[in-house]
């Protein structure tokens, strides 16, 4: 029973992280119909930036996280401004190739700057609640909830789930209650009409990039806390998160959240119970099955027949 519970938690943690990344993909897609391949790299850079801030400066952890969010938001806007904006009216695939180019550039820049080896946050830089461990001699458990048959549930995992929920809720409110949220929804429905109504489309797109990138940075730091930081992390997590966004119906924020959680759970249960080697494959199988049954994802509205 506790195995099941733990796998559920594992799945939810991964799902929360995927959801945080996936909203970045889906928000951008909703407005400019671009698969922003570089989003995975922004997520990776968010983790690296926080790591550098906590190791090289005396800044406290949380300040580093906030700064990293700001940095990624600016970076996201900058990428949009430099790379994507000139291609607004070009064929969609040109923008896609540009996104791949940006992704490649950032990935290799990171590889050259920090080498491809894995890094983790040093223990003394992390707040205490993230340092869960078990004493091998006494079996004493630190910063984690002991479960009946010897397993433990680290606070980190619980924290990540809670944080993901809070951020998702905040994003939902932002999109539905604020003026900028309204503008974003308007642009998603019809950018030309929105522009005619006096909405500055480019500004709205910038804000969308900023919000998505900041959430990506948070996800990056969370992965860094729980797992490791390396240049290719953006690619590996990004692909799964993108699958989540499509699964939920790309362009739909609620769909991305749910899609993330489904993919996370599929990985945890498939990898834990059936076969570790096929861990990623389970996510893809579910994704394919869902799309074949519902051709526009779980929450997607069926779009006009246009490629």
């Amino acid at each position: 029973m506790s195995v099941f519970l733990l796998q559920l938690i594992n799945g939810l943690v991964q799902g929360g992280i995927y959801a945080l990344i996936a909203v970045g993909y889906t928000m951008v897609y909703g407005i400019i119909q671009l698969i922003n391949f570089a989003h995975g790299e922004i997520f990776m850079l968010g983790a690296y930036f926080a790591l550098i801030l906590v190791t090289a400066t005396p800044l406290p952890f949380w300040a580093a996280v906030l700064l990293s969010m700001v940095f990624c938001a600016v970076l996201g806007m900058l990428i949009d401004y430099i790379a994507y904006r000139p291609l607004r009216n070009a064929p969609r695939l040109s923008a896609l190739i540009t996104a791949i180019g940006v992704s490649l550039t950032l990935l290799n820049l990171a590889r050259m700057l920090w080498s491809s080896r894995q890094r983790t946050f040093p223990d003394d830089s992390k707040p205490a609640i993230f340092q869960s461990k078990i004493d091998l001699e006494t079996g004493e458990v630190f910063n984690a909830i002991p479960l009946p048959d010897g397993a433990i549930l680290p606070y980190t995992d619980i924290f990540i789930i809670l944080l993901a929920v809070v951020l998702m809720f905040a994003l939902n409110r932002l999109v539905h209650l604020t003026k900028i949220g309204k503008a974003m929804r308007a642009c998603a429905q019809n950018p030309v009409a929105a522009n005619l109504m006096g909405i500055k489309t480019n500004q709205v797109i910038s804000v969308t990039f900023a919000i998505g990138s900041a959430l990506g940075a948070v996800a990056g730091v969370m992965v860094g806390l729980r797992e490791a930081i390396m240049p290719t992390m953006g690619y590996h997590k990004g692909i799964a998160a993108f699958a989540a966004a499509v699964l939920g119906g790309i362009g739909n924020i609620t769909g991305a959240m749910l899609g993330g959680i489904i993919i996370g759970l599929a990985e945890a249960f498939g990898g834990g119970y059936i076969s570790g080697g096929y861990k990623l494959a389970f996510a893809y199988v579910i994704m394919i099955v869902v799309i074949l049954i519902r051709p526009s994802g779980l929450f997607g509205k069926s779009t006009a027949q246009r490629a």
Binding site: Y29, I35, A83, P86, L87, A90, P91, L93, S94, A95, L96, I97, T98, I100, G101, V102, S103, L104, T105, L106, L107, N108, L109, M112, I239, F242, A243, V246, I250, S275, G277, Y278, L280, A281, Y284, V285, M287, I288, I291, L292, P295, S296, G297, G300, T303, Q305, R306, A307
Partner: protein, 333 residues
């Protein structure tokens, strides 16, 4: 492709056919220089250049194949590498396990590729745009995982098939890069011919109609499902052909060769050249297919820079798309 046999085109074809001669000439010169004067020309040997050319040719072949789905029917295929994988393993396993000759295994691989193309294509007929793209991606990734995990299927771990025999023709074993070069040249000629004929036939016009407006095409009496399926099958068959050739070039297979990144690379070639255009696909294939290796050689004197070749590659992609968003060859057919 309009003026088929202008003098320029003939000269180009002749040059392509006699490149090996030129390379071996330079090689001989360099060898003489080195043996007699101890002077080392800093150029790679002819055979290794031919291998890079053959590899580039393989990418050209794949780009022309992908162009059929992406360019003609306008669907975004992110899993083309799946068919490449199918072709490679079909030939690899048939040859190593059953001792079947390459010349029999090759058509079987092509048929198998077409079969998998239909298998993937039929359920995805009603999908559009990015949903189609992500299913193709998932499909290729599943094939990758299966080959990687199922040892009984491949007979070795990690999808490794070793010591694939080389084909032979009139008793000559085709194990030199020179032969590979002509081998891929013939395959490209074949594929370009098929692709060109299809494009300028009823089928090609139906594909373009589907790309421009699927509903309108349907209402004009075009059987959209059938034509789309045909595109999937032909495109997949060409992918499998590429895989089959790869077994000959490399003589062994490992599953890492067929990673997602390859699909993206091939897609970049098609888009870079200009979608729906055979010449564009060829040019894109030549540029991107050789860029990695060319950068490796050009930047070879400085390890730091050689390390940065993918960074440069990314920047080149961005710049090209910024200034030539419709691809290098503009005119769509």
């Amino acid at each position: 492709m309009k003026n088929k046999l202008t003098p320029q085109n003939i000269i180009l074809i002749l040059i392509v056919c006699f490149v090996p001669l030129l390379l071996f000439g330079i090689d001989l010169l360099a060898r003489l220089l080195f043996d007699n004067f101890g002077f080392d020309l800093p150029i790679p040997g002819a055979s290794s250049i031919l291998r890079i050319l053959a590899l580039t040719g393989l990418y050209v072949l794949l780009a022309v194949g992908l162009n059929i789905v992406c360019g003609y029917t306008g669907l975004l295929d992110l899993g083309y590498v799946g068919f490449y994988l199918v072709g490679g393993y079909t030939v690899g396993l048939l040859m190593t396990r059953f001792g079947i000759s390459y010349w029999i295994a090759l058509p079987l691989a092509v048929l198998n590729g077409a079969f998998w193309g239909l298998l993937r294509g039929v359920p995805t007929l009603r999908l559009t745009g990015d949903y189609f793209a992500i299913v193709t991606f998932g499909f290729a990734e599943l094939l990758y995982q299966i080959v990687k995990n199922e040892e009984w299927l491949i007979g070795n771990v990690n999808g490794m098939v070793n010591d694939i025999p080389r084909a032979s023709i009139f008793g000559i074993e085709l194990d030199q890069n020179l032969y590979h070069y002509y081998h891929i040249l013939i395959l490209i000629a074949l594929v370009v011919f098929v692709s060109y004929r299809l494009q300028h036939s009823r089928v090609g016009r139906a594909w373009v109609a589907i790309r421009e407006d699927e509903q309108a095409a349907e209402s004009m009496g075009i059987n959209v499902s059938r034509y789309k399926s045909l595109a999937f099958a032909v495109s997949a068959a060409i992918g499998a052909l590429g895989g089959a050739f790869f077994t000959q070039l490399q003589s062994n297979l490992a599953v890492e060769v067929f990673e997602f990144w390859e699909s993206i690379l091939i897609l970049c070639m098609v888009v870079l050249g200009g979608m729906g255009n055979i010449r564009g696909a060829i040019i894109g294939g030549v540029i991107i297919g050789s860029l990695g290796e060319v950068l490796r050689i050009v930047l070879g004197f400085n390890p730091q820079l050689a390390d940065a070749r993918f960074l440069i590659f990314g920047v080149i992609l961005i710049l090209l798309m910024r200034y030539r968003p419709d691809g290098l060859v503009f005119r769509k057919t």
